[in-house]
Amino acid sequence: MSEEHKQPLQSSLRVQELIYGLRISEVMTSKVFAVSRNCTMRDVQTIMKNNSITGVPVVDSKRVVGIVTMNDLMNALEQGAMEQNVTRWMVGEVQTLAEDMPLSFAISAFGKFSFRQFPVVNKKNELTGILTFRNINHALIRELSRQLRQMEQQSEQPVEPASLNLSKVYQLHRYDFENGGKASSEIKKFLKERGVPPKLVRRVAVASYELEINLVAHSIGGMLGFDINENRVKISSHDRGPGIEDTEKALTQGYSTANEWIRSQGFGAGMGLPNVKRVSDEFAIESAVGMGTMVQSIIYLKSEKENENQ
């Protein structure tokens, strides 16, 4: 396959990676219609009808206590109970999403639960928005057009062979140990050819390699994105699950959940994430059980002093 044929795949992966990295708060609908406990099903019907929406959260001093969906409304209608309180018909124990979670977690949640919308809450557990498939589609279209514009601009400018600018995304599959490591080899080569000092190349290679191994050994699959410019290398890893229960523990040297098979491959000693953190100038991890894990590692190519001087 020629490079030309490979490009659409790479750009679609990039779009996926970009929307994975967005925060839920950047994508959700912030104008939420909610009702309080003492509202009736008729009130909900009016709200749904007037605003063309299919789900209304029920709140008690800003906390989500339930949600009334189109389904609940139809049930109430069938029973002629439209004047009854929403608390009798709503679904309690609502699955909410935190507004600062990466969008990839929400995408996993849509896959895992059969809900069509998720109420979004802030750190204080107060309702701040609602997330539907439509929001995700909009975000996708927005990123696609942005990507398209960028590609058009790039094709107008000839690429300098020595340029350090690179965005690339790799897809990794569960237990695919044979391909785990390809990304870091390629990136290592790219940096080496452009005269990046060996010590820095090594730190980038270690971080990306450990993250690749994590994706194939521990996740059900995910992607590894590289965003490189002359100042820094940014590596982002997104996976679709299973998520880490205790990220603090996962960053403890020697703590591992690896099975025998992973260990037989020479890994699973509980050094992966601590090692990524060790070689990174900036490091961040977020995880939610059942939704996924996001790790970001930044390695400066110029010392901070040089960055400041610019």
Binding site: F177, K188, P198, G266
Partner: protein, 112 residues
Amino acid sequence: MELQRIAYALDAELICGPDDWEKINIETVFASDLMSDVLMSDRDEMLMVTSLSTEQSIRSAGIVGSEAIVIANDKTVTEGMIELAKDQDIALFCTRHPKFESCVRLGRIMEV
């Protein structure tokens, strides 16, 4: 120390390597079957000795700057490993000696 001398001391068989592999200078050695440990290393590990015969051994060695790798204990080397070693310009060897024995032999010749 020249790689040629090391290969001789380990009764190692060359699987693939750059043209002038004999002259490669080796000053540091790392022996491990745990790639996580290899990747934690801070210095350049010019030679890696391992009985883990997988593609990941070659990749890990490449990351820590190895110029040669010895697979101990008479393990089978796969085509994929050879490809990777060639791609990264790493000399790949095999020895019938177990890892401990290989390290003892290395220790004897590297001690001044």
